[in-house]
Symmetry: C2
Subunit: 599 residues, 2 copies
Amino acid sequence: MGISGLSLCASPATRHISSSKSPGSGFSGPEGHNVRTEQAVGDGGIRGGLESDQSKSAPALPVSRAASLLRNVVARVKAGTLSREQALLDIPPSMLDELLHPTIDPNFQRCVISRGLPASPGAAWGEITFSPYEAERLAGEGRRVILVRVETSPEDIHGMNAAAGIVTARGGRTSHAAVVARGMGKPCVTGAGDIRVDEKKGEMTAGGFTLKPGDIITIDGTAGQVIEGAAPMTEPDLPPDFATVLEWADSLRKLRVRANADTPGDAATARRFGADGVGLCRTEHMFFDAKRIRAMREMILAETEDKRRASLASLLSVQRQDFAEIFHIMRGLPVTVRLLDPPLHEFLPKDEGDRAEIARSLGMSVEKMRRRADELDEFNPMLGFRGCRLAIAYPEIVEMQARAIFEAQVAVERDTGHPVKLEIMVPLAATRAELDLVKARIDATAGAVRREMKAELSYQIGTMIELPRACLLAGDIARSAEFFSFGTNDLTQTTFGMSRDDAGIFLGSYILKGILPLDPFTSIDVEGVGELIRIAIERGRKTRPDLKLGICGEHGGDPASIAFCHDVGLTYVSCSPYRVPIARLAAAQAALRLTSAQP
Amino acid sequence: MGISGLSLCASPATRHISSSKSPGSGFSGPEGHNVRTEQAVGDGGIRGGLESDQSKSAPALPVSRAASLLRNVVARVKAGTLSREQALLDIPPSMLDELLHPTIDPNFQRCVISRGLPASPGAAWGEITFSPYEAERLAGEGRRVILVRVETSPEDIHGMNAAAGIVTARGGRTSHAAVVARGMGKPCVTGAGDIRVDEKKGEMTAGGFTLKPGDIITIDGTAGQVIEGAAPMTEPDLPPDFATVLEWADSLRKLRVRANADTPGDAATARRFGADGVGLCRTEHMFFDAKRIRAMREMILAETEDKRRASLASLLSVQRQDFAEIFHIMRGLPVTVRLLDPPLHEFLPKDEGDRAEIARSLGMSVEKMRRRADELDEFNPMLGFRGCRLAIAYPEIVEMQARAIFEAQVAVERDTGHPVKLEIMVPLAATRAELDLVKARIDATAGAVRREMKAELSYQIGTMIELPRACLLAGDIARSAEFFSFGTNDLTQTTFGMSRDDAGIFLGSYILKGILPLDPFTSIDVEGVGELIRIAIERGRKTRPDLKLGICGEHGGDPASIAFCHDVGLTYVSCSPYRVPIARLAAAQAALRLTSAQP
């Protein structure tokens, strides 16, 4: 049945796992507050990291490797037998991950029912559900759920947000589920290929087990395992040494470390973990909320600009509120807001039944709905009608977003007395002309807001550099862009001609066969993608010597990639909030090392 | 009803167009031999082009602009008032297109029922059919059909081959239908957006007309029009001046001009139009024949290497025969054979019903069939499991193809006494390691065939350069590649992050707004894609000074792109057989011009 290793499973015949089954002995759920998480944010935020409260930690559990290493190096530095620099170099940055997420009690005997990819670290248990809507409903009742899907799509965000963890049968480490889960700091296992979800029957099978909604599983996103029942958890144990080491790192690193944060919750986590700002605030996730998606769909399905503007007007106030909260949390620090990026069909349901229902609720014919969905459907969405291509076709979307951003900026600056260091980012430009067209709309909107609100507005406009052409034309693009943010996920996809969602089927064997040394979606491909980045930096800075340069792909949280970013002279890296401490340490190591990742 | 301009339509109420309706007066069908097409091929092929037989041309029709221009310049050169060089520069290469395809009698009053994109030049009339199978059946009965589809896919090739012309409701000028039709020299209109095909009802609507299979339409692939009824045709009128001018061009050009030819028919056309070889022989089209696709599907659905090898064995002999015919036709000239490139799911039917039928015919469960199809399904097929990625996962496919190629080579060389100048091309390499792995299999197969057939084998192995990474790493890749062929279709897609099948929705407005000067899929983007090509050439030649360099994307037939290819020092361009004369003239012009397309 494909179960081996750590498994200690009941016979599949005895498979039914009651949803009332209580967790094993020694259990400590994520609610157990054996760590006092400091939620305060603001100018006085604790940049040293979380404080731990040892007195409340479970006495039976072993101290993690990371905690004992930190204790050891800090003690030696204090004793004068180790330099701070050497201490920082002695800590593998990825080891800090252990301290940031709950883990399964090492003494627990796991019954592994499926193995997949370790897509987002940490562990969680909960009732199975196959529906994002159901996940949201159950979480609203205070229940813990694990969302199990064949794959996730942006319309599942609300359910992923509500779930304690996510499992997908398909997809790689950079699939939608994986990327979103890492951003949320939630454990996730993707590509659990032997899981079969039968939504009609309302059951899933894996490893000889048949499980139904309500049955309890545990997922270990660090090991890529799906486990029967509720495993006892060890909560992250943040020792005071953690804060000490990161303070040392901050004093030595040259790279700024920002976080990718789409929600006020992300922004609070980012600030709490010591981020120097937000390097990527994706605005599309804001539209997937149940109340908002209706207006978004109305906008997409509108047949005239007037109707589109009417739907956009109803999105303006909610979007302004989102930005205001994020700006408030991040006040005094830079925030890069990216304009709408994904193809519009991502906002429309894929299922025929759902489409019919939405058509009815919007008072349009099913046929018209289907026609518009067909029009927007794409062979290669990654290479399709998205990014600034949308902004150019529908400038009214840019105007709404720019207005929401500027109005929020004015409100927060008036409210707090602190500046909102605003950077507006145009995605997917391949030419300077695209950026200029979008910039003109943003500037015009800024002018209008200035007059209406009698306010000063200070902002920068820049672009994602995520296409090979943009790297080559960087000298020209920098005439209009005040900053570049390298979108290394998409740049890797286009440079290699390799979709991160489809590469799973061959990428593993490429690494085993030595064709590639590492997964280029995890650690930057220095020879190919890296050369394009070098070209872009050289050409961009030649045009504009003070060009601000950052990276906001998944690579921003990978220590080897951070070393590369340091070497090529980037201003900052931006990563998932939960990887900010790792990036802070890795940036210090890069500054300390004489050798570099350069060929 | 969207009908304007040239339309002269009967009222939609009188729409039924009998399939027995006879063509208008002055009609001359493509069967009308008002031109004697020289079919002889071989060493003595008429490199000067087709000979015309003026005595048989329809006297009422005006001489085309192209024919009168050719007559004029040739007369002036003969009179000594114009140099050959200036004569060549005075002829717009694209004007030759008029001479190569049938056109609609200019006096005919057209009733245009739909407008789309001019995807492949020339005109044709025939009975409507929505099914590629039906197209093949009707053509077998000697009837003329126009295949109307929402879009085409590789499994439609047999029907496209049988049809006189092709119309699709979706897709751009570089969609599957457009590219294949141009290669076949068949007229094609794509993106005829107001055509609605209702396959269930068995009818289509367009411009207020409702048409059923059997109703007759004409398509004008040069103008992008779908026209009611059968329009009278003017056959291509190849004056002797055509041959004269192309002989002058050949004596001056530096670039070789090859053709993209996948079938013996293509190869014959290529040779007839004076091609210097085949620059791209795509092997996948060979698998779509009704008899072969079964073995191909068995191979894809096989669960073990042994079963896969058994299915491949049955493809070996047919593939060997295809190669033998092409090598025979092209003997003495180089032929570049590309190994299997498209993702495997392209060979499986998309429709659930078809899948069930095929599962039954292969004796496998529908569930298993669906699972394999799901496994192979991709979010972004363009960036997926294709090219050498397939060759690395299934080396037995490479071995079968290499064996078919080498056995055909030996047979043809023995038969004709002429060498087969063989070049084997590995698609989609991003690294040298990929090329090396595939090369090792090809070399091993060559060794086996040498021993078994006691033959000398001479061949070169090279790679498509179609990914930005391959351009950057060209210095390393050239250590293993004896030639590069720039696949500029895919290189444009990846450099711009723009799918040619999806760009239709925004690309038109990009050109109107001046964001791009030209469609980069038609005329090479010199600043972006062009720079990558320059980088690859420089680095490749540094490693291997005698590296052979060609281009086999659609751009190989575009005069402006040909000028670029001349400027950067390519060895050859390869284009659709029907564009070979245009490319020969454009190559001469590029050699004559002092100014170049370089920035």
